[in-house]
């Protein structure tokens, strides 16, 4: 059987193909692309690209589960399942002993508390505000004229602690401009921005009452940001596991869910 999971995020669309049985053996393939405005088309392209890597085509796929904010816009999906459930499935597959997942993408932050079987017990999402998400860091990186991938590393070089007075994505931009005008080091501004993001995420983590010794994993694009991970590790007082490709975990979960559809 060949199954696909496609996770349509606000910034990136990810796909995972899983195949097993009937002479296929077992195989895995993944692909990612910026989401853009045509969700059905980009989803098709991403799944197509992942299939191409294993010399297959759309016609070979038995089931597709779509997830992410664009999940309902995909006409060819067999079923839509939320990114909460899919992320938990993906995390459990990679780290069976993890019971707390932090998934921070372009637009959403999600905290998922699971049991030892990977079933969701409780979840929380950020409110309707981009502060505490990837978008906030992206806008901040633009204002600081630093490549997004370097933002976390640069912030770790901060030597002076400053506090952002606003964590509104729009007003933070203005504040960054005035801090630069006052010759504040970019490293210090970046560190303050990361602290604001981490504080938001930490508040959400607490809202699901995580177990004191829960093993924690972080997924989503923001998990690539070393500074956010380190700050959260400090706040939680424990190590946070980050998979090799943290952005693909929810799509992997979607594929696993597709495999188990009734």
């Amino acid at each position: 059987m060949i199954v696909a999971g496609v996770d349509v995020g606000s910034q990136t669309t990810k796909a995972v193909i899983l195949g097993y049985g009937q002479g296929f053996g077992g195989f895995y393939s993944e692909a990612m692309k910026p989401t853009g405005i045509d969700v059905p088309e980009v989803s098709k392209m991403v799944i197509g690209e992942a299939l191409e890597k294993v010399q297959l085509s759309f016609a070979n796929v038995d089931k597709i589960v779509s997830t992410g904010y664009g999940r309902i816009s995909i006409p060819f999906s067999t079923r839509t399942i939320t990114e909460i459930t899919c992320n938990a499935a993906g995390v459990h597959q990679l780290y069976p002993d993890v019971t707390l997942a932090i998934d921070v993408g372009g637009q959403d932050s999600k905290i998922i508390k699971m049991n030892s079987e990977g079933k969701v017990l409780q979840f929380a999402m950020n409110d309707k505000c981009a502060a505490g998400t990837g978008k906030f860091l992206e806008i901040a990186a633009q204002a600081l004229e630093i490549p997004l991938d370097d933002l976390g590393k640069i912030s770790l070089r901060s030597r002076r602690r400053i506090t952002m007075s606003s964590i509104c994505t729009v007003f933070a931009q203005t504040e960054i401009v005035s801090l630069i005008a006052r010759r504040t080091d970019k490293e210090d501004i970046a560190a303050a921005l990361h602290e604001a993001v981490a504080n938001r995420i930490f508040g959400l983590i607490n809202s699901v009452n995580p177990e004191a010794k829960a093993r924690v994993v972080m997924t989503g694009g923001v998990a690539r940001n070393i500074a956010v991970v380190k700050l959260l590790e400090r706040m939680l007082g424990r190590e946070i596991l980050v998979p090799d490709n943290p952005q693909i975990v929810t799509a992997l979960g979607a594929a696993l869910m597709a495999e188990n559809l009734d």
């Binding site: 904010y69 309902i72 939320t82 909460i84 017990l121 979840f123 309707k128 699901v208």
Partner: protein, 413 residues
Amino acid sequence: MGEETLKVNQRLEAQKRLGKLIQGHYSYAREVEKKKDQLIAWTTSGAPNEILWTMDFFVQFPEAYAATCGAKHAAHAHCVITETHGYERHLCTYCRNSLGSTLAEIEGKGAFDPLARPDFLLVANNSCILITKWWEHLSHYWKIPMINIDSPLIVPGMDQKEIVDHVKRQCMDLINFLEGFTGKKFDYDRLKEIVANGKRSAEGYREVLNANRHDPVPATFFDLIGHNFPNLVLRFKPEAEEHYKMMKAELEQRISDGIVPMPNMKYRLYWDGVPYWFAIRNLSEKLQSLGMCLVTSTYFEVFAFERLDPSRPLDSVAENTAMFYLNRSVNYKAEVTEKIFKDFHLDAGVFAYALSCKPFSISMHYIADTIQKKLSAPVTIIEGDLVDETFYDEERNNMKLQALAETLAAKKR
């Protein structure tokens, strides 16, 4: 009763009767406004309104009007009028709706189905920290007097009797003021009669709400919310009690006939907060599609008025005001919520955060947290803003509801 023997009938007969009661109330308001043979008061839900009814005021509720405007998608236009007069967007949307409709009427622009123009304003600060200021602005625009009943928050350690006495003293001041304002003597026998009607209405209201303890429920939360109206607006008349009696009989009949309000009821849910009035249909359809039935809510407690007692009329009116649900501590609210979860056998909770309603929303996280910790029931916090549709993100809320359904499904497996 087995799933296969249940019959789905979404429409309650009580809805038709409720429609007539509401229509009758507002048609009568038009007549009063035209004939000017009765004074009109605008008041808040937690105020000692039995005093107004005893003084023969025709009583209207701007909060209930805001809910109607929200449900009819008319509130946004009122809110915009308020904002163009310089009021900020972060003010309560009920307040913005009310000031906007008032300004539209005063400036001759016409509001959506406006309330009859008031002669007097009564407010109690037991429901909200902003409401006195909201009423102050109404008083300013209508150029009419207002009286505020101060009802301190009931928190542990406070002397409740002292608070009730404090409210009672103000009720007596209100009576003195109204005697001067109307030129009429306050009739304590009439008060007793009105309080007796209110008590019977409140008892009937509670019985109707309790019908949903049954599994499967005879009605959903959405079917019941409109039925706050008789206990809020008409409890001084025997019609309110009559309505609940008939409604209770109908709900009991539905239970014995195996009639349910929706198909495929898999999970029993709690609702916390004020409904997003403009989104009721969407939410109802979404929840139904996920097999989730909203069973009950502490929102109903706001309209319970169970302290009324004709054997001590004025004292009980003061007590009813002081002990108003929204005036209680967050611990009390969490305890009531926990009890409701147990009594109604609820599986999960939907907490409806309202952006501009801080008094309601500030307790929400604590209550949700209590439910998670004590009952291990999953909860989700969705977002909206009472009657302002512009803040509502349907897809985002739908995603949270779907995730809640998936969580419950996984729990059952």
